[in-house]
């Protein structure tokens, strides 16, 4: 939902991997971890290398530290539109060759943009590492040489189609936009969606592209993550060759968190109509910034609320009362403040008010009485198992390393991330819910079937 992929088939599920606890006690699983070597070139390019020789493949990530939070007024959607432009050729790579060369090498590639960063990645046989670095370096230093109005116009159309497919033509799709506009004030980096508005996309100009490129797409604003069948020394030499010659540029300014995230101070209610069969209820709050205090507790709270048949909302609404066909709860972490959302899909004939009242009651109960030890244990064990599963793929590992580095400055955060969840207690869950998921801080949205003939 938040990560805008260049091509819809791929998106990184950035699950945080965990040195898993065992089933019925809380001992970490031996030997499971995630570590990497980090170094920096003279020009400020960060490089992270993780060796894994189980398969002859390598994954290369380039994370540019700019996201939709850094966009200016009137240019929503720009960071993501720019991401699209990065695939259209560069100084020594004609338009179309980026993909053709990688495909000929047996690789796949994509990119994603969200509020916090723009991420480019490819996976290919390890003997083609040079190709990946060549392509990434050429577009880092030479994108503008290949840029022109036609490229911008074409990708603008593609992005508008993406918006249509993902939001305008998708059931309940426009609710996300309304919610992200209500949750954060205008001018706040998280206000609105990364995909942007049609008006702002139309307004994006070639001059904007050049400025954005020269400001943000510089080696000292980027991190390279290379994971797979490589060795650190070879990577060091290769990266120095392809990137070391680029000069350091002025540090771009970034929109950062300058004051603690605070819950909203008022409740907002919205009713939206859409071409849908049944209503869906969304209740959304602000949450602490990614990896901030209370973050792990709220993740566990989300599981207690809606993960699995015996979760509070699923058991009550889907299983017992049978007024919902599905429920969800999750926290979406961002640098400037995260989003916590509960969703309930109505069964036909059920009024959204009834579902909302149940959500309100369950949240109030969780804020007042801590969950049981068993609820927290189950949530922790499930999460920790997912952590281990997240390590299975190179894509998962590379993404994790990049994410830890981007948010915390330390790619080797794995064990500490696990520790955040090991430290969660029922009482702390309750307190986090009481602090953040308050009735007077939420955005309540009903999406209801449009009245017939009203279209």
């Amino acid at each position: 939902m938040i990560q805008r992929a260049r091509f819809l088939s791929l998106g990184l599920a950035a699950l945080v991997a965990v040195a898993a606890s065992s089933s019925l006690d809380a001992q970490p699983t031996d030997g499971v971890g995630l570590t990497a070597t980090k170094f920096e070139l003279d020009n400020g390019l960060e490089v992270i290398v993780h060796e894994d020789h189980s398969q002859p493949t390598v994954m290369v990530h380039v994370w540019y530290h700019v996201g939709s939070k850094d966009e200016v007024e009137g240019r929503s959607g720009f960071a993501h539109l720019f991401e699209h432009l990065m695939f259209k050729g560069s100084k020594h790579v004609p338009d179309g060759d980026f993909d053709r060369l990688l495909e000929a090498a047996g690789g796949w590639n994509n990119g994603t943009t969200n509020e916090d960063r723009t991420n480019y990645f490819e996976q290919l046989p390890s003997n083609y590492l040079g190709l990946a670095l060549y392509l990434e370096a050429d577009r880092m230093a030479g994108l503008w040489d290949a840029m022109n109005q036609d490229v911008l116009d074409n990708q603008r159309d593609v992005v508008k189609n993406e918006r249509r497919q993902s939001y305008e033509n998708a059931p309940y799709g426009m609710a996300e936009l309304a919610i992200q506009q209500a949750l954060w004030p205008k001018g706040h980096g998280n206000h609105g969606l990364t995909i942007g508005t049609m008006e702002d996309l139309t307004a994006a100009s070639l001059a904007d592209v050049e400025l954005f490129y020269r400001t943000y797409y510089v080696p000292n604003n980027a991190t390279l993550v290379i994971a797979g069948d490589v060795d650190v020394d070879t990577v060091k030499k290769a990266v120095q060759l392809y990137f070391g010659w680029m000069p350091r540029r002025p540090e771009p300014s970034h929109v950062t968190l300058t004051a603690p995230v605070r819950p909203r101070s008022e409740e907002t209610r919205m009713v939206l109509e859409d071409d849908v069969e049944v209503p869906q209820v969304f209740v959304t709050w602000r949450a602490p910034q990614a990896f901030g205090a209370d973050g792990a507790e709220l993740d566990i709270a989300a599981q207690v609320l809606a993960s699995g048949k015996t979760s509070r909302l699923e058991k009550r609404l889907v299983f017992d009362e049978r007024i919902a066909s599905s429920v969800g709860a999750y926290q979406y972490p961002m640098m400037l403040g995260s989003m916590f959302q509960v969703t309930v899909m109505a069964k036909p004939g059920v009024e959204p008010d009834q579902l909302f009242m149940a959500v309100d009651e369950e949240l109030a109960r969780l804020a007042k009485e801590p969950p049981t030890d068993d609820e927290v244990l189950r949530a922790r064990n499930t999460r920790e198992a997912r952590f281990v599963m997240g390590l299975e793929s190179l894509a998962g590992r590379a993404g994790l390393l990049a994410r830890y580095n981007a948010y915390l400055g330390d790619p080797n955060y794995f064990a500490k991330d696990l520790a955040r969840y090991t430290a969660v207690t029922p009482k702390r869950v309750s307190e986090a819910v009481a602090r953040w998921l308050k009735p007077d801080a939420r955005v309540v949205t009903y999406v209801v079937p449009a009245k017939k003939g009203a279209k």
């Binding site: 699983t29 002859p56 200016v72 495909e103 030479g142 189609n161 998708a170 680029m246 889907v318």
Partner: protein
């Protein structure tokens, strides 16, 4: 903060492109705190900062940028080896050991558990049975089972496709013995409790109705229904129709499970942190008592419709911003010898980002966020289709363009570069199929489901390498030339009906979002 930021960077970049750009011209304010080096200081070392618009010193790099670097030596890769044995009740077991992470994945593939075996007018039964198997089982209620699996850090779930049903287990190797016990309960001893049945059935009917909201789901349903017939195998949706699922009874599910979920005919794939030798008695102990059954007497035959409708129109909503489009026809079964040439041809035509379909419809014309084609290989037959969501006012030109692109591979053989790229992608991308435990299990399951030899993967790379442009061209002429494609359009048909009919595709029919025929056009 954002406005200030804009002013700062705009000022710095004013030297680049002040002028009619649509952006607000702002007053200059001081550039960022750090200044570039003085002009006569000599060439800057990379660590020294240069100005935002200083040119990049490519010549100092020591790289020959004129062409991409050549790869180093091609690595060798062999798919992981599998060990095979059979339990006393005939259940075949395939084990792929992988000790790198403490995880285990199980997939039990049941060739009699798919929608192919739905009885007449009880479409959705196979899927419903699968849905209910992982509810109450083996003496635990659905809620108890769910809790228990969460404590173990594991998950069990059962699903059904057209050709087979599959029971899955995924979890930590540390708790494997316990989660295996639950898996055995789910497969062998599902309780099919009435309250579970009522709840799951009701939710399934709701979710089928909600497919109406999703244009691509509607298009897929209509595509298969048109090719195979609404009351024929492969023609009804795997999950069934609201009307057919509503009629299912608990005893239907009980009977289906008893008759179709039996060890003989099924294969269990285990991948992960296990040892095949110690695993065998463990599996025998938990699954060995699963009683053999009689396989269904007849495998339902797939008989595609002889002359399907050529144009299928479904109105999704007024002013729909996009049209979900399928273009395709019946095609190959998985064990067809032409599989290799089909894959090579399709990769170039619509299988990748740089393929003809996506490159033209998205990158050149901007009609879509993505266009592609694929062969879907079933056990007896398969389909081939183009899929894309076209911006509404480009629906007609987009369809015409797609048809022209397909014609292009019929009219002329693939040029060398496209052929080479297509083969290279399939060959060099091959190892990635075996990255995760579930991926490895699925890769081996594919062979078993389709009756392919155990060592099929050993020759894959060579067989792909042997496909020539002439082979691919002959195949295209055979498979894609007859001009008999079915075109499905889900969008604002009310506004576009006349233009769609003008495409000249006949017979042309109009359906509602549930697949009911509303009109036929001569």
């Amino acid at each position: 903060m954002r406005a200030l930021h804009w002013i700062t960077t705009a000022a710095v970049a004013c030297s680049l492109s002040c002028g009619p750009s649509g952006t607000s011209a702002t007053k200059t304010t001081p550039p960022p705190a750090t200044d570039p080096p003085a002009p006569d200081a000599g060439p800057a070392a990379p660590g020294d900062m240069v100005g935002i618009d200083a040119p990049a010193p490519w010549a100092t790099s020591g790289v020959d940028w004129s062409k991409p670097p050549a790869p180093t030596a091609e690595p060798t890769f062999a798919p992981p080896a599998a060990k095979r044995f059979e339990l006393s009740n005939g259940l075949k077991v395939v084990v792929i050991e992988n000790r790198s992470l403490p995880l285990v994945s199980l997939q039990l593939v049941n060739p009699y558990g798919g929608a192919l075996y739905d009885p007449r007018r009880k479409y959705g039964l196979a899927a419903m049975t699968a849905d209910l198997m992982d509810e109450s089982a083996g003496g635990r209620t659905a809620l108890e089972l769910a809790d228990h699996m969460q404590r173990l850090g594991a998950a069990v779930w059962v699903g059904a496709g057209d050709d087979y049903g599959v029971a899955n287990l995924r979890g930590l190797s540390r708790t494997f013995d316990e989660s295996l016990a639950v898996f055995a309960d789910v497969v062998m001893r599902p309780a099919f409790v009435q309250t579970d049945f009522d709840r799951v059935k009701s939710n399934r009917v709701d979710s089928i109705k909600q497919n109406r909201d999703e244009p691509r789901a509607v298009a897929s349903m209509a595509f298969h229904q048109t090719l195979y017939g609404a009351d024929a195998p492969y023609g009804w949706p795997t999950e069934g129709r609201a009307s057919t699922v509503a009629k299912l009874r608990r005893k239907d599910v009980q009977r289906f499970h008893a008759a179709h979920w039996r060890p003989n005919g099924a294969t269990l794939f285990v991948a992960g942190d296990v040892d095949a030798d110690t695993l065998a008695p463990v599996l025998e102990a938990s699954l060995g008592s699963w009683k053999r059954g009689a396989p269904p007497r007849k495998v339902p035959a797939i008989k595609p419709v002889e002359t399907p409708a050529r144009l299928v129109m479904i109105h999704s909503k007024d002013d729909a911003p996009q049209s979900a489009v399928y273009i395709g026809r019946v095609a190959l079964a998985r064990d067809d010898a032409r599989y290799y040439v089909a894959e090579v041809l399709n990769t170039a035509l619509g299988g990748t980002f740089a393929s003809r379909l996506n490159n033209r419809l998205r990158e050149q014309l901007g009609y879509t966020y993505g266009a592609g084609s694929s062969f879907d290989y079933g056990v007896q037959r398969g389909t081939w289709r183009v899929r894309t969501d076209l911006v509404a006012d480009k629906t007609i030109p987009g369809i015409k363009e797609a048809l022209a692109i397909v014609r292009s591979v019929v009219e002329a053989p693939l040029p060398d570069d496209e052929l080479a790229r297509s083969r290279a992608l399939l060959v060099r991308g091959f190892p990635q199929k075996f990255q995760s435990n579930a991926g490895v299990a699925a890769a081996y399951a594919e062979l078993v489901v389709h009756g392919l030899p155990d060592d099929w993967y050993a020759s894959y790379v060579d067989r792909i390498g042997q496909v020539t442009a002439a082979d691919a061209h002959a195949f295209a002429q055979d498979m894609l030339a007859a001009n008999d494609f079915v075109v499905v359009v889900v969008g604002d048909v009310k506004a576009q009906r006349a233009a769609l009919l003008d495409l000249g595709l006949r017979p042309a029919i109009e359906l509602d979002r549930d697949g009911k025929v509303l009109a036929k056009h001569k």
